[in-house]
Structure formats: C-alpha cells, structure tokens
Subunit: 275 residues, 2 copies
C-alpha cells in the first residue's frame, strides 16, 4: 500500500494560502516530490516562462494545469470569452509541458435552470477547445465534480457522463479522476474500467470528512475521511493508469493555516500510509 514521493504530485491548491508557485516548486524539490500541478492564478503570478524554467531546473513533471472549462454562459459574448480563455489555458499548459489541461465544466449560467442546456454548452465548448488542443498535441482532461457543485461549478458530475463525452468527442479528450468527487458513485469501478488507460489522464486525492462543514473548503487529508483511496487507486491502476497521485486539498480552516512544509510532510506520510 502507498506511494512514495517520487510518484506524488503537489497541486498548488493544497498550499495556496502559504506558497507562491516558485515556493511550491522549491518545496517539492526539497521534499523529494517529483510532480506539480499549478493553478493558473499562481502560474500567471510567477510568469509562464519563469515557471517553465523553474520547473525544468528542478526536474518536475507537470501532471496537469488547473484549469480550463467554465463553458456555459448566458450569451454569445460570454461563450466566446470562455473559448478564448480556454485557448489561452491550452497555450499555458503547453508552455510548461503539462501532461494535460484539467477542465472543470462550469455550472448554470446566471438565472438559468436549464441544466440540460448547460450540458450542451459544455459539450460544444469542449469540442471547440479540443480542436485547438489537438493541434498543439495537448490532452484535455475533463474532471467530473461532485453533484453538489452541479449548479455553480460543474454540470459534469459523474464519470459516466465524462466517458460519454469522450465517446462523443473522440481522441485528445480524457478524464481527471478525483476521489473526492466520485467516491460515492455505485458505478465507479465499472466507469474507471470503461475509461481505461488512454483516458485516465490524472488521479487526484484528498478525503471526504465526516462531518463536512463547508461545501467547497473542508476537504480532508488522505486518511482522515471515509474514502477507501487504496481501493480506488487499485481500480485506476488495474485500468492501466501509471501516473502520479496528485494531492489537491481545499481546507480553509485546517491545512491552509498550517506551515506549508509540515503540510507537505504530512502529504508524503499519508501517501505512504493511506493511499
């Protein structure tokens, strides 16, 4: 059981209140973590060229760039703005050598109750972005988010839906599996198998706490919650995934308040003991 730091990727969200991207990169190097996954705000703050230089100098693998998506909008101008922004995200991902651009679909447009319509917009937005991403050789990874985010963050909420999109849209589109979002799904094992090696582009970890006090910012360190992470890892690896375990923990009241080196040490320990 468990993975060593050479197979761990630090998603910058895990220490977003403590460290800049430069500090994350240097922190990974210091602790022997070999992967990193930046969010775009941190990347832009650092500068894309400087980030690419630092990442290469420290020999890190970029397991993904977080994130594109956010496709549904109330009008044509909003939809076009989303497409333009996704194109920039593809460019940034390419510039830092990311293995994929993670897509978070987006929720309902302001004032809308039409979730089926939002899902159509997501499909069309991914299709348009995919065309450009293919021309750059960059895989897109759609990340289904937990159904509690269907209204305001992402209306792709199951691995089945993500697989259906991959079936429909074809090569270059894969999936980021985050245990937090999918652990409850009775079809999880089957849909991981269906995704297979080709589509499984990223594997994200944290834990579901009981009780969960906030819908967004109360995620747990691996081992502190109820998700059988080792079982889900066994499923993705049985399906052919051989990539990194990316740790992404939103934790306003706990981990974001601690010393970042201590957080990273805990991440490493828990990746050995609870993954």
């Amino acid at each position: 059981m468990g993975v060593g730091p050479e197979r761990v990727s630090l998603n910058t969200a895990t220490v977003r209140e403590q460290w800049s991207l430069r500090e994350c990169i240097e922190g990974c190097a210091r602790h022997g973590i070999k992967g990193i996954s930046p969010w775009r705000d941190k990347l832009q703050e650092c500068g894309v060229d400087e980030a690419a230089r630092l990442i290469e100098a420290h020999g890190l693998t970029v397991t993904g760039l977080c994130r594109g998506g956010g496709f549904p909008a109330a009008g044509a101008a909003g939809r076009q703005a989303a497409l333009d922004d996704n194109r920039r995200a593809v460019d940034e991902a390419v510039a830092i050598g990311a293995r994929c651009l993670v897509l978070v679909a987006g929720g309902l447009p302001e004032g809308s109750k039409d979730i089926a319509g939002a899902r159509e917009q997501v499909r069309d937005g991914i299709a348009a972005t995919l065309e450009y991403a293919r021309s750059c050789g960059l895989p897109l990874a759609i990340e289904p988010l937990h159904p509690m985010y269907a209204a305001d963050r992402a209306c792709v909420n199951t691995l089945r839906h993500a697989n259906d999109l991959c079936d429909e849209l074809g090569a270059g589109l894969g999936i980021a599996v985050d245990v937090y979002h999918v652990w409850w799904d009775p079809d999880l094992e089957q849909e991981i198998k269906r995704a297979g090696k080709e589509r499984l582009l990223a594997f994200h970890l944290c834990d579901w706490l009981v009780p969960t006090k906030d819908l967004l910012l109360d995620r747990g360190m691996m081992g502190d919650g109820v998700i059988d992470i080792a079982k889900i890892r066994a499923w993705v690896e049985a399906a052919g995934y051989a990539g990194f375990c990316e740790v992404e923990i939103f934790s306003a009241e706990n981990w974001w308040r601690k010393d970042a080196d201590d957080v990273v040490e805990t991440v490493i320990q828990r990746c050995r003991s609870a993954v």
Copy 2:
C-alpha cells in the same frame, strides 16, 4: 403550471421549529392543504392514536411517514436494533393510514470506509422490513438522497440505484423522488420513466439555493433556487404519478425562523407559481 393546496402535502420538517404535529394538522386545515407527512418525532410526541384521530377528523391524506431506514451498523446488535425500529415505523405508518413509509438508507457505520458493504446492509435491511410491511399492506418508499449525504445519511444516492433495489426486492417497494436530491442527475428523466406509476410513491419539493451555505439545513423554497421543478413534475406525472406534491424544506436560518402561517402561505403561493 402549478398545483393548488388540495394537491399539496405539508411535511412537518418544513415548520419543525414552529409547530407540533397537532398545530401542523390544524394549520393544514386552516389553509386548505389536504396532505400531511409527519416525522416520527412529532408523531410520537403527539401520540399515534391521537394523531390518527386528528388527521382523520381534519380529512387529511397522509402522504408518507418520515422515516424508516438507517440500516447499516457496525455489529449484529446494531443491525437488529435498526430492523426492530423499522418494524415499529411500519406499525406507526399503518396506524395513521400513511400511503407509504419513507426509507432513508443510512450511511457508513462508524469507522467504516466500505460503502459497497453498507449498500449490501441496506439491501438486506430493506428486504427484511419489506417482508413485514407487505404483511401489513404498507408500501415502502426508498428515498435516494443527494450524494453529499453518502457518508453520513444515505448510501442510496441515485434513482437508478433505487430502481435497481426495486427490481431486486420486488413488490411493495417503491421510491420517494425528492427534487433536491436528484435534480442534477443526467439520467433523471429516464429513471423516472423506468420507475413508473407503480413505484412512484411520493414526490418531495424544495429548491437548491446558490450558494448553498450548509450541507443539510440550507434548502430553499420552491422558486428561490435553480431546480426546474415544473419539468421534473411533468416527468413524474407523465410516468403516471397522480399523488400529492409534498413540501419538505430544511431551512435553519430562514424558513424555520418565520411565522409558520406565513411559511404555509408562501408554500401555497409557490406551489402555484413555481411547481
């Protein structure tokens, strides 16, 4: 669009901080609401015989008793206690002439990460309770809860799973569809159709607020959120459901703090305008 108060049922949870069951019954009569759905704590506080007398005296239909379920437990004694309690719940539902006993499956036993195992316990618990309920002529309605409750309240989280349980366990088991729990599901229309008239035993309403500030107690009044309730009602009615629209709103910071008669008036208005 909309339903009149003669097709509305008041779930006592909607005014649980303001009214006893007796007050709910009298309130329904005063406002022309023809259905009621008591929670067991309110029922026991009133006394089952007295409640049955009051409900009959006011000519109300009992659209359901909330609730049985809670099957998974760490040990045999806990599981037996759950079965015993469900038997008592069946007796209470029969005593007040309820159309069904609503079952909320239960979450993971303390310390467990085995959601598949919890789901097996739920199936076995329903099977045992169903045997007794059939002998009493009482339908059981399994209510899939939103996936955000999978850990601590109910590990049956989709209509598909509920339909699968009905397929497996047979006659006497149906489903309570609560729009709050299922609105996000891409398979919703199809699974409502699959359930059909026979299985659709109850239809519960409230709304999903954006933002939602609490996982349990921040549900909205119909029309204040993002759920296309009229569309879902059209689906359940197209499938043959001709029963009541039961309003069940957990709202610690808003509706539970208002005058209960005002809440009921708002329920009636919104059932006309947003259902």
